[in-house]
Structure formats: C-alpha cells, structure tokens
Amino acid sequence: MSNITEIASYAQSTAQKLGIKKFDIYGSTVDETSVQVDQGEPQQMKASNRSGVTVRVWNGDHLVGVTSTTDVDPIGLELALKTAQEASAFGVKDNVPDFSPEATATIAPTHGGASDRIPQADVSKLLETLVDAEKQLLAAHPAIAGVPYNGLAQRAIDRFYLNSDGAMRHEAHSYASLYLYTKTEEEGRKPRSAGAFRVGTGLEKLDIDGCLKEAAEKTISHLNYEKVKTGKYRVVFSPEAFLSLLGAFSNLYNAQSILDKQSLSTPDSLNCAIASPLLSVCDDALHPDNVGAETFDGEGTPTRRVPLITNGILTSFLHSAGTAKRMNTEPTGNASMGAKVTVSPNFFHVFPGEAATEDYSLDTADNVILIDDLSALHAGVQALQGSFSLPFDGWLIKDGKRISIESATVAGDIREVLNSIIYVEKELEFTGSGVAPRVWVNELSVTGE
C-alpha cells in the first residue's frame, strides 16, 4: 500500500484538479496470515495483504458524497473522489455530516496497546504451534475425536485518518488469535462440542495453554449431559454470554440508533434507570486489556472511556461527531465513516455498581442455570423489540455440581434482564469484546424438554 504521506499527497492534488475543496479519508491496510490444521496436518493456510480507503467529499452546496475503494494508487483515488463527488449531489440535506471538532485534538498517551506492533511469526511457526495445540487437545480425553474448528491467525494493521483541514492521524498495531473447538465421539452418546478463544498482541503473547485448558475442561464437562426441564430458572450469564447480549442490544445507548428511532431508548432516556443499581457498564476503547486498542475512530475523534450505565442509570450515549452535534454534546470516538456514519461500541467494561445486599456463589447454588455461550444471535435477537430467544451451551447447577445441558434455549427481554439482575460478581474476565464478571439474573424462561 502507498504510505499515508503519498495518499495524502495524491488526494490533495487530485482534489484540487477536480475542484474539490473539502474532503476527508479514512483508510487501513491489513497484513494477515492464518493456518488451520486437521489431525496433525496443515489443512489450509491463508495470507492476505489488502488495503482500502473511504473518501468523503463535500460539494459546493455543502452536501456530502462517499465512496470506498481498494485501489489506493493515484488512478484509483481519482476515480473514488470523482464517484464521491457524483454521489454528493444526492447527499443528505438535513444534519449534513461535518469534520469532527476533535479530529485534530491531541491524543493522550495510552497503555501501549496502540501503535505497538509485534513482528509477525513465520507461517511454519504458526503451523507448528497449532499442530501441537491440536495434539494436546486430542490427548486431553479419549472422547475428543477431533478439533474440527481451529485456527491460528496473526494480523498487522495500519490505519489512518486525514482531512483537507490538515488533520492527519496514523497508528499501527498487531494481534494474534487462536480458537479451538472440539468434537467428541462416544459409543451411544451424542457428539458434544466446546471450545475456547484467545487473543494477544502477537503469537508470543498468546495464552495458548489457557486456551487449551479451557477447551479441554469445557469439553469434558459437557460429556455427561441431560435434558433440562422447560421452565423458569435463575440464570447466571458467563462474561462472554453477558457481553454478547450487551452487544446485541447496543441500540440502547447508540445515539445514531436513537435518532433514527431504531432503538429501545429515546433521547429522554438519559439519566433514567434501565438496569439494576448493581450494574455498571463503560465503553472503554483504551482499557488496558483491549488488544489492538484504537486511539481514534473513523472520523479522527480520539477514543475514550464512556460511562454508559452507572449503578443502573443510563449515563451516556455513544456518539459520532454528527450525533453529538445534534444532541449538543461531545463525540465519544465510536464512529465509523460511511455514506451514513455509523456508531458502535469499542470495548465493554462491565463491573459491579452498588454493593449487593447478598452474595451468591455457584459453589452453593441449586437449580440454577449457568449460560456459558449464546448462539445464533443474528437470528434469535429482535433488537428493535428487545426480545431474544437463543440456543445456549451451559450447565444446570445442582447442589453446586454442574450437569451439562443437552439442547435448550433461553428467552426474555433485555430490559427485564437488566432490571432483574440480582448479583454482579467481582472477578472480571477478559473476552475478545470486553471484560466482565459473571452476572446473575433472577429468572428467565428456558426451553428444554
């Protein structure tokens, strides 16, 4: 990919040639390698080096047009600018997007996650590592017959934002990820599956042993399974499951969704109670555990820690520059550039709010369901209605002992879930999309047999 200085230079000269006075560009280049293995042999290896930019152009009537392209040479950029210029004739007339007022603001130094790039390992090293991991997992229990879904990947990313007012941001980071999902075979038993995922800034920083241990322990814990009786149960969400739900219903605190009336909240929901006072949630792109943290968003706005729910109270929305202007507040660094700027969370941090009056423990729980992983969120979540009905992997806890649940769904309403939280555990766990503890919910409908 051309470097950022060259792109800025091409863009400036081409814009001048086309009579474009105001524009901005967001772009990135990704260098990625990944491997998959099957029974000790390489199955598929992939490498990719790709780049892409999105250009926004404001015309003489101050209407904006956008185009994305993977051609970042002078010819490709010129075509993209021309196409964006053509599209600008049909740009929105109300609430026209503008540069972020913070696109040139100083970015505070971070914990070192951003602009950190660890050299990429050789593919042979990735293969060797994954083959070894697969071997160890297959040896963990005789019932584990395969690891059909596995992958070890590493990615180096350069991203930048620049605009015709002189803003120019650039950062680089890298990360590596590993997933291992088993499948079991036992005579007279149904096949079972479980897995684990890890992410780190590079192969050397990846917690491979932890991934193996978790995948093996979970798989073994699901070997002895039972149907669960349909009914209402006290439910404990694992950190991953709770973060899945928070992400699926992020329209609750997404200012763009709220302004588009595509949300369960309204502008008036701010400072209202939407959850139990036991719960607090922040969106924190710069959290120390966020691997590959980004210090600016697609509009060049610095990212930051945004308190979304504080002791059950909805305390802030996530904003782009445009939504912040419309709601008379500051952007939060959650924008992605596009013909319509979109807003999305960066990295959730869930933690206890007010002190609980009673502590709960799975060690002493009885008739409680622990949901480890929710499936099919793309299908079973009605984000605009607030409802969900989702298959899950988990265990029925009986007298503190875990019994794997064969096949079941959990259903409810996100607002009811948030309001019926009875306990937020203290111990936080890192997942790919955030950090959270286990969260206890008083009662939800579970369908089994």
Binding site: D38, V66, T67, T70, P191, S193, A339, G380, Q385, S389
Partner: protein, 490 residues
C-alpha cells in the same frame, strides 16, 4: 519445423506483458499462463488464480429522505496453491504482473516451495480458449443499464411513501437497495480459463411499528441476478401491503409458549429449515471437518420418503444462480435427496480432492480475499403431493411458521432458526399470532419428521455466511409439515 522454446526463469524480468487494465479478457492469458507455469515449476500440484473487480452501490431511504448512497469499488486477486491434500491461499489488491507474482511466491513459500532457479525451464500451461460467459450471454451492457443514483433515490422514496400509506403505528420505515456488479476471471494450471460477469441486486423494506410497549419489526427483501431493470420493475406496492399487514398482525402478538409442537412451515423462505438442518451438512467442507452425520450415508435413507431436495445454480434469475462457480466450473443441477435417499454432496475442487465426491460447480466465495469452498446455490425441497389444507388439517394444536428469520447449524449437527411471524394452529385452523419463537433440533432427527410436502414450491432470496464468506443463495420449499420440533419461547 522448429520446436517452441520454453521460457527460462531468468527471462521473467525482461517480459513486458500488456493486458487490459479495466477488463478481464484474452490479454490476460499470457501473463497468467506464465505465472501458472512458474508455480508448477516450483513443485505445486495445481495453481489457481481468481481475479475480481467489483462495482457495488447501496442506497437507503429512511422515512422520507435518502440518507445513504454508498458506492464501493474493489479489485483484487487470489492465488491458491495445492500440494498433496493441503493448500494455501494468498490474496492481494495488486493486479500487476509483479504483484501477482509476489502473491504466488508467498503462497509457494508457505507450502515450502521456492520459485525455480534462474536457468530452470518454465513449463507451458495451455489454457482453454477463454470461456467467456459475459460475452456469450450479453452481460457487458448490464452495468450501464442499471438504475442511476437519481433513479435509485426516486424509487426508494416512492416505495417508502407507499409503506407510510399502508402501515399503521409506524415508528420507522426503511427501503434499502443494493447492486453488486462483479467481473471474475479464473485461470488454473489444469487449463481452466473462464470469465463471467454477475449482477446481483436486492431491494426490500424494514418496518418498525410501536404502540406503547407493543412492538413489531418486519423485513422483506426480493432479489435478482440478471435483470438490469430489476429496481425499475419492483412491485413495491404489493410488498408494502404485505409488510404492513404482517407488522400489524404481529404488533399485539403474544409470546409463544415453549414446548414441542407439530408445525407447518410456509413456502419460500421457510426453506431455511432445509438449508440449516441439512444443506450445510451436505457440503464437502463438513465432511472434511468431520462435522456432518451424513458423511457415510450416500445411498442411504436420511430423510422421510416424502422428501426430495435439490441444489442447483441454473434457475433463471434466482438469487443463487451462477453460470460458472468461482473455480470456473459451469453450474449444475445436483439432486441431493430423492425420496429420502441421500444421492449427492455439494462439492468444490478441494472438497472433491479430499473426500472423493465429484465437483458439482459449487465452489463459491464472497470475493477475492476468500478461497472457494463448497457452498449452496439455489437449494430447495421439491414439491410434494399434499394440499396445504391437508397439512393444516392434520394438526390439532401446533404452530404455523409463516415468515422465518435467520438460523445456523453447529459442529454437532444441532440447528436453530428464528420465526419472525408465527400463528397458533388449533384444530387445523389459524387462530392467533405468536412471537418470540426459535426452532431448535438435530439434523439427523428432523429430516425424518418432514412428513408432508404440498405442491406450492416457492423460492426466496437469502444470504449465507460460512467459511468462504457471505454468498447469495436461494432457499425454498413448498409448505411442509414437521411432525414435532422443539419451540423455544417464554
């Protein structure tokens, strides 16, 4: 007669290929042949290049304004190197000769191979005469004949206006259109050399209605793969009425009571049950991963004797129709299940190599960043002999699943999918609307419970996400009865 002289590796830097920069045509034969020969000389068993150019645009109307027109231009290539039963895939944005050579070199090195030494001969790869479906089927003019940006805006605003007239308790209404124009070229060292242009378009509604705490959201989408006039001829009044009626019915619907029920699934998008519960498990990718219970069942009964199912890429203008797959193989019509007996799997090149099942023209991918994999095209249950009334009359208490949402299947064959619009069936009659239903089951069990198929086969456009990205597919079926299935609800 003098024998042709083979190219020597050290001559490569002096080669000066000229090929069309904005069109994949015969001028690409020489550089691609050389690169394929180079890969073979390095010791690869087979090399495949996939070149892609995309001109995509989407447009969205929200209430009474166009809020997004979003063009995307993309070019890229992928090279796949096979050695033994392993393969690797390298993708790049750089379509210059040196860019493609660098991608090849990377792929070879990943497979433990090196470019041949300076004095090594590069074998000639004789590609077939360009099999050009784009020219043969007059697709060159497609892009120019599609709706302009202005036309897109006008149609979507009119359509959204129509929805405002038809619907009540509207909270938000959207009309969304996209056009995905794609030119592809495949060249591989087995001689394959083929080009195609695809034009995929889709338009639809998304309606959210609210009355106090009651909410309903209904989506509807239609698609085309060969008609530049598609948007101009969209019958949006009919779709607006249908969406408005569904939203009104579901606004005050009760939550479904969980349990095990007999169900009737509507035709068209109801076919997602077969797609999730069986179709994915007949892809050779699943055999390779050992995640399908049907791997050793060819020729055996895996479904009710009343069930026959197809996967094909040839139905005119269906959303999964392709003239050739992304490995250059012409599309076919593949009989999957006949009267309950498993007849064939869905296979791509790598799947065929690793499992022995013949290729079916099903090697598909989202774009150049993905290696092709065995994927479904137009997949449907064939019409049966029952009437719809016979299906309903066979149920004392059950659920009519009229409009399905998405779904998925897991590594153990457990599938699930959501129901967007459902009704209670009591004594063979539809009585009241229900919401919040998710259907779950196991593939091996459910296929024997699809006991009745009516004769009203209908197809619907869909999107399928899997190992090679998101591809356009058709799901379909007539109305069917499932004797019992677990329904997750409240």
């Amino acid at each position: 007669m003098q024998a042709p002289t083979l190219l020597i590796s050290k001559e490569l830097p002096s080669l000066n290929y000229t090929y069309a920069p904005d069109r994949f045509d015969e001028t690409w034969e020489a550089p691609l042949s050389t690169l394929l020969g180079l890969g073979r000389a390095a010791g690869a068993d087979l090399i495949e290049f996939f070149l892609e150019r995309v001109n995509y645009i989407s447009c969205m109307a929200e209430d009474d304004a166009i809020t997004s027109i979003s063009p995307r231009l993309s070019t890229g290539a992928g090279v796949r190197v096979f050695r033994g039963k392993a393969d690797c895939y390298v993708s790049t944005n750089d379509l210059s000769f040196n860019g493609l050579k660098a991608a090849l070199e990377k792929g070879l090195s990943i497979m433990g191979l090196q470019l041949p030494s300076a004095n090594a001969f590069i074998p000639e790869i004789h590609l077939e005469l360009l099999r050009d479906y784009a020219t043969k089927k007059s697709k060159e003019a497609w892009l120019g004949n599609c709706s302009s940006m202005r036309e897109m805006g006008d149609v979507l605003l009119s359509a959204n206006g129509q929805l405002a007239q038809q619907a009540t308790h509207v909270q938000s209404r959207r009309a969304v259109y996209f056009r995905d124009w794609q030119e592809v070229l495949v060249a591989s060292s087995d001689g394959t050399f083929a080009r195609d242009i695809r034009l995929t378009q889709s338009v639809g509604y998304s309606l959210l209605c609210a009355d106090g705490e009651n909410r309903s959201s209904i989506n509807k989408r239609v698609g085309s793969t060969s008609d530049p006039n598609f948007l101009r001829t969209w019958k949006y009044s009919t779709d607006a009425r249908e969406v408005a009626e569904s939203a009104a019915k579901m606004l005050y619907a009760e939550y479904v009571e969980s349990g095990s029920y007999p169900i009737v699934m509507a035709n068209e998008f109801g076919g997602v049950i077969f797609h999730e519960a069986c179709g994915h498990l007949l892809e050779t990718t699943q055999i390779e991963r050992k995640t399908t219970p049907f791997a050793e069942k060819k020729g055996e009964k895996i479904a009710h004797e009343n069930l026959t199912a197809w996967d094909e890429g040839i139905t005119s203008d269906a959303f999964g129709t392709i003239d050739m797959d992304d490995e250059g193989m012409p599309a076919q019509r593949t009989l999957l299940i006949e009267n309950g007996i498993l007849k064939n799997f869905i296979s791509d090149r790598a799947g065929s190599m690793r499992t022995g099942h013949p290729r079916t023209g099903s090697g598909r991918r989202q774009g150049f960043t993905f290696a092709a994999a065995s994927r479904m095209r137009n997949t449907y249950i064939a019409p049966g002999t029952f009437s719809i009334d016979e299906l309903f009359n066979s149920i004392e208490k059950g659920i009519y699943c009229k409009k399905m949402g998405g779904g998925s299947v897991g590594p153990t064959g457990q599938f699930n999918f959501a129901v967007d619009e459902a009704y209670l069936i009591e004594n063979g009659k539809i009585t009241k609307p229900l919401k919040g239903a998710t259907l779950i089951g196991e593939a091996t069990e459910i296929m024997d419970k699809i006991s009745m198929c009516s004769n009203d086969l209908g197809l619907a456009a869909g999107f399928c996400g899997s190992v090679s990205g998101s591809v356009y597919v058709t799901v379909g079926q007539p109305h069917i009865k499932v004797d019992s299935i677990t329904v997750g609800g409240r």
